[in-house]
Symmetry: C2
Subunit: 257 residues, 2 copies
């Protein structure tokens, strides 16, 4: 590719309405893309915010219906959080990794390590009593979305379900791929030669997470939030059997839990 200018574009797509449980999400996304005049081409990747996937899948829990366990109450006291929210965090998680005031870091049931099990209480109608859980299986959500969008547009696409995730040693959240289909999670360059023919040492690149980072930046998070970004030039369409889970470090290799 040396010698050529090459562009990767992140196009923010307006026009997705507020999503209600049971909504036809592929239909809403298709309509928004058509209305914006941005018809996906083969290899494009469509990034969708976790929030609208979760809402369409009805992953909303009303806190009045949640009975916190004794363990949830104990952890809530340490973390200074609503025991009902902590109960949801525990139900959504395999393991608690750290508890500190304001934050509970767990391994989510999907294997992702993140704060508060990704439970969100912003941007929900009647949100004082409602919590939004992550999709139960974000890779499956991405696959369903992809199948329908490929059918609607007649091209091979990638789909990423994004979330904003914190990092242990750096401030600020970054968009991360919690679900994907038709896009590489990891591009393994190990063993390829460098400019001088020497083998590269460490070169497994987190492709889907990198794309998700800028997609989420383009989405915005406050009142102007737009949950849909079209990524053009990303060589999507082929995932070599990888999903977002491919990017999870096996517990046996984890030096930090």
């Amino acid at each position: 590719m040396t010698g050529t200018t090459q562009t990767l574009a992140f196009i923010r797509i307006p026009g997705v309405p507020l999503v209600e449980p049971g909504a036809d999400l592929p239909g809403l996304i298709t309509a928004a893309l058509r209305a914006a005049g941005d018809i996906p081409a083969t290899g494009d990747v469509i990034a969708v915010a976790q929030k609208i996937v979760s809402k369409a899948e009805g992953r909303i829990v009303h806190l009045a219906t949640v009975e916190p366990s004794l363990r949830a109450q104990e952890i809530a006291a340490l973390a200074n959080k609503d025991p009902r929210v902590v109960e949801l965090i525990l139900r959504e998680s395999r393991t608690v990794i750290r508890v500190s005031p304001g934050v509970i870091i767990t391994e989510h049931n999907t294997g992702v390590i993140l704060a508060n099990a990704g439970i969100d209480r912003s941007n929900l109608k009647g949100s004082d009593d409602a919590a939004l859980l992550l999709p139960a299986d974000p890779d499956a959500s991405a696959t369903r979305l992809r199948d329908q969008l490929q059918q609607n547009f007649g091209v091979r696409l990638g789909v990423i379900v994004t979330d904003s995730i914190g990092r242990p040693w750096r401030l600020g959240t970054v968009g991360t791929a919690i679900g994907c289909a038709g896009v590489l999670a990891l591009n393994d360059l190990r063993g390829q030669p460098d400019l001088f023919g020497r083998q590269l040492q460490v070169s497994e690149v987190a492709v889907a997470d990198s794309l998700a980072a800028v997609a989420v930046l383009q989405m915005g998070e406050a009142a102007e939030g737009t949950p849909l970004v079209l990524i053009r030039g990303a060589f999507g369409g082929d995932d070599r059997g990888q999903t977002a889970r491919t990017a999870l470090r096996p517990t046996a290799e984890d030096l930090f839990r």
Copy 2:
């Protein structure tokens, strides 16, 4: 911003030659941008790979000149690494955080926590004996580059010095901003209202790191590597006094060392 399509484009710029110590890096970058016909506009951000910044700054050490300390030899045995490389890692670092076979995780002198102090032995001429260190002060490198590029093009720009960094719980590296000038490290949305007027809970977004992630994806890392990416539509030019160091989590808030 709702209702408008908005594009953020990552343009891979060819034509940067192999960089030698003492090279005029702003001059080489300016020439490559002009030759590609991609003249930076106000607000554009220019992402530059750490490797060429380090090379231009002469941060190359020949291993034959390195005398490993006793501590370096002990850690080298645990990590199964060349004791001379370990000696360089220790000199470049404030603290050793984890040692395991093949990897030494430290807090680099810049405050960044990463593997092997960011020392690279790929893509160096005569690389069997040479190691490339990170720039001594990547924020200062970014500032110098920015000053010269702004002068050359007569517009306000941002500059990011990128590196590929691993993550504790996820596989694959992601591009990260180890130096920046004229671009926000963190965009603090906390306190802003969400779609329903409720205050957002956690919304400090790592802007420069997110941009770096896709910039590095566009650069590529193997033989076809291109160390220069122009980011258009990124609202660069104003950093509100932030640098890459702004994104480092204070040690007192670190739950994972």
